[in-house]
């Protein structure tokens, strides 16, 4: 790491990579999403400029979570060897490398006190990835504005003007966001403005928001605050109950237990009517949503843990459509803007490409363990569809198809970490034979048509059971087949072999 920093410091500004000019692709952002995409694109030989306003890699993990540790785990010791592709299933924070030396870059920096890396450990892991894989960025280069030049894009930065055919925005959901319709909320500090914990000692603290950032602050302030109140209109969704990584995670549940066991913390379902400043702090007026009634709290501090939006700058002025109150761009299954062809997204912004969302469960795209695969798939998609790169697609013998798919459904990290969102696709095309088409967005597979094929994935049922699933396309029509789950999540049993063989018989002949 020191070597990397010394090298950067040694270079003169003119020696920085990617000077302003013309490039096929411009990538904005050096968080995990931008790093992964730039890496994967570089491995495919596509010329690009990778730009970042930051001074070093890791994006928002350089500042958040406020209470230091990440929300996603990395298991230093796992059922698969560290550095193998299968190990990625258990390492949710390292980026996805093509070769062993580019994988599992986070665990060597973890000190064994937790399987949730600290921010510093995560940052070192990202820096190690960039150094080992030779992923370069032009750091300290701020994106300022964007315009069109025919079909191309003009990206104006603090270092000058870039022109490109494809613009990939990987700036994260990093912009503090507050609703504008709660009187007084504009004067309340956002999560990002939280003070050091000592500032809340013996204070009554009101936290608006019951998602992870709200619970994270409450958890961190339990040893400091006199009383904590968490409130938002919707009842808290909790990951172990909803089987979803999008819900509040178990590791922040101590405030909830405190509430349930009447320890003094309050977790309320209430709309915030207004926030007024008083001589000694704030008065927060709430109305119950699940239990009717008005409640007024006089507190010392209020924090708006109301989430983040995407810093899209002037892209909406170019016609970029957004949703969720402007916080996310609308996207296709391959993460292209729904309204401006040629603008793509990587990183946590890709949660705006919804996918099938089976049983209401969102993808893992909001986190590194999901978004890293989206970025890899996107790089290959752009290379093959836009830049004429021929990616070798392995042929399969008919007898190998069933064992191969069962092996993938049992061990592929892409399928386990992006359940019912990414799939392994094998096509059965008379002219080309049986071909492994790689990892493909499942929504694209079921909606786009094409030759006879099978898409294999892993899904969680409405009852929380994890099961292998195949989507079989014949004569343009897609048939969904869900197979049995097993207690040990092993799907390469004789029964699965028999079942999948029968399902694929019409394709295998």
């Amino acid at each position: 790491m020191a070597k990397l920093k010394e090298e950067r410091a040694r270079r003169s500004p003119s020696a920085r990579p990617f000077p302003p000019g013309d490039y096929p692709v411009v990538v904005l952002g050096s968080g995990p999403g931008g790093l992964q995409f730039a890496y994967s694109l570089g491995r495919l030989g596509i010329k690009h400029a990778a730009l970042s306003a930051d001074g070093e890699p890791a994006g928002m993990f350089r500042r958040f979570p406020f209470f230091q540790r990440l929300i996603s785990w990395t298991k230093p010791y796992a059922p698969h060897e560290r550095g193998s592709r299968q190990y990625e299933w258990f390492d949710w924070n390292s980026l996805s490398g093509d070769v062993p030396e580019h994988r599992a870059t986070v665990p060597p920096f973890m000190d064994g006190t937790s399987y949730f890396p600290s921010r510093a450990e995560m940052q070192r892991g990202m820096e190690a990835f960039a150094e080992r894989a030779g992923v370069e960025f032009r750091y300290g280069c701020r994106w300022e504005s964007t315009s069109r030049d025919g079909e191309r894009f003009v990206v104006v930065t603090s270092d000058g003007e870039y022109r490109c055919d494809v613009l990939v925005v990987a700036v994260g959901m990093t912009e503090p966001w507050k609703p504008d319709n709660i009187p007084g909320l504009e004067d309340v500090p956002h999560y990002v403005e939280t003070d050091e914990p000592e500032a809340y000692a013996d204070r009554r603290v009101f936290i608006i928001g019951k998602r992870n950032s709200g619970f994270e602050l409450a958890d961190g302030l339990l040893p400091w605050a006199r009383q904590i109140v968490l409130a938002s209109p919707r009842p808290a969704r909790i990951s172990v109950l909803t089987h979803s990584v999008a819900a509040a995670r178990a590791r922040y549940m101590q405030p909830y237990e405190d509430h349930v066991l009447a320890g003094g913390t309050l977790v309320l379902d209430a709309s915030i009517e207004r926030v007024d400043q008083t001589a000694h702090g704030y008065r927060v007026t709430c109305k119950g949503t699940t239990v009717p009634g008005e409640v007024v709290f006089d507190v010392d501090r209020v924090i708006a843990a109301t989430g983040f939006g995407t810093p899209l700058r002037d892209l909406p002025d170019l016609g970029l459509t957004t949703f969720s109150q402007g916080r996310l761009p609308g996207q296709t299954a391959y993460w292209e803007s729904a309204s401006i062809p040629g603008i793509f997204f990587a990183g946590s912004i890709t949660q705006g490409s919804i996918g099938l969302k089976k049983y209401g469960r969102p993808s893992g795209s909001a986190a590194v363990h999901g978004a890293r695969y989206n970025a890899r798939v996107l790089a290959e998609h752009l290379a093959t569809t836009r830049f004429g790169v021929k990616v070798e697609r392995p042929s399969l013998e008919a007898d190998d198809v069933v064992p191969y798919l069962l092996q993938e459904m049992s061990h592929a990290p892409e399928l386990w970490n992006q359940q019912a969102y990414l799939s392994r696709v094998v096509t059965f095309d008379g002219g080309r034979g049986i071909v492994d088409e790689g990892i493909v967005p499942l929504a694209h597979f079921v909606d786009s048509g094409g030759p006879d094929a099978v898409a294999a994935t892993v899904e969680t049922s409405e009852h929380g059971e994890i099961r292998p699933a195949v989507y079989i396309r014949r004569d343009g029509s897609v048939d969904e087949q869900i197979m049995e789950g097993t207690l040990l999540h092993a799907f390469d049993t004789k029964e699965h072999h028999r079942h999948l063989s029968a399902l694929l018989k019409p394709l295998l002949g």
């Binding site: 319709n181 004067d187 949503t289 009717p292 949703f323 402007g326 609308g330 209401g360 909606d447």
Partner: protein, 159 residues
């Protein structure tokens, strides 16, 4: 949210945070829909925060015929076609809802619902619908009325 004027106004951003300047506040939209006509303002707040917002491009399938695990949708903006085996049977617009039949019966949808132009919807996960409807019995009653109207229309159309 909260006791705000129905016509949202821009709020000065004093701390550098992004504020929601969207003109069609979701709570206001919900309050004007028959399905939620009986709910109080705080209850509408609860509903607005329970349902997620999603965006769909023109031509995108929202509900997929024959695929399990679908969800309940409410259209905020845009238009969609109800399509069975490639044939358009009906058009849905702002305020219409769909997906409830397959969720309630636990069966795959019998039709595709396809965006005819860019759409914004509110969505509730299939496995959350029962709890949602029993938490808001007045919404359940309004939905039952809507289903009764649809049934009557179908009977009239067939006779």
């Amino acid at each position: 949210m909260g006791s705000v004027p129905l016509s949202p106004r821009p709020t000065p951003d004093r701390r550098g945070t992004v504020c929601n300047a969207v003109a069609d506040d979701v709570v206001d939209i919900l309050g004007n829909l028959t399905l939620f006509a009986d709910l109080s303002r705080p209850e509408l707040e609860g509903v607005a925060h329970t349902l997620d917002e999603e965006s769909f491009t023109e031509g995108q399938r929202i509900l997929r015929q024959g695929l399990r695990g679908s969800n309940f949708y409410l259209i905020l903006e845009g238009e969609a076609a109800v399509r069975v085996d490639g044939q358009d049977l009906n058009t849905l617009g702002r305020g219409d809802f769909f997906g409830e039949v397959s969720v309630l019966l636990g069966e795959p949808p019998t039709a595709d619902v396809v965006a005819l132009r860019p759409m914004r919807c509110l969505v509730l996960g299939g496995d959350e619908v029962e709890e949602f409807l029993t938490s808001y019995p007045k919404v359940l009653f309004r939905m039952l009325q809507a289903e009764a109207r649809r049934l009557r229309q179908t009977i009239e159309w067939r006779s």
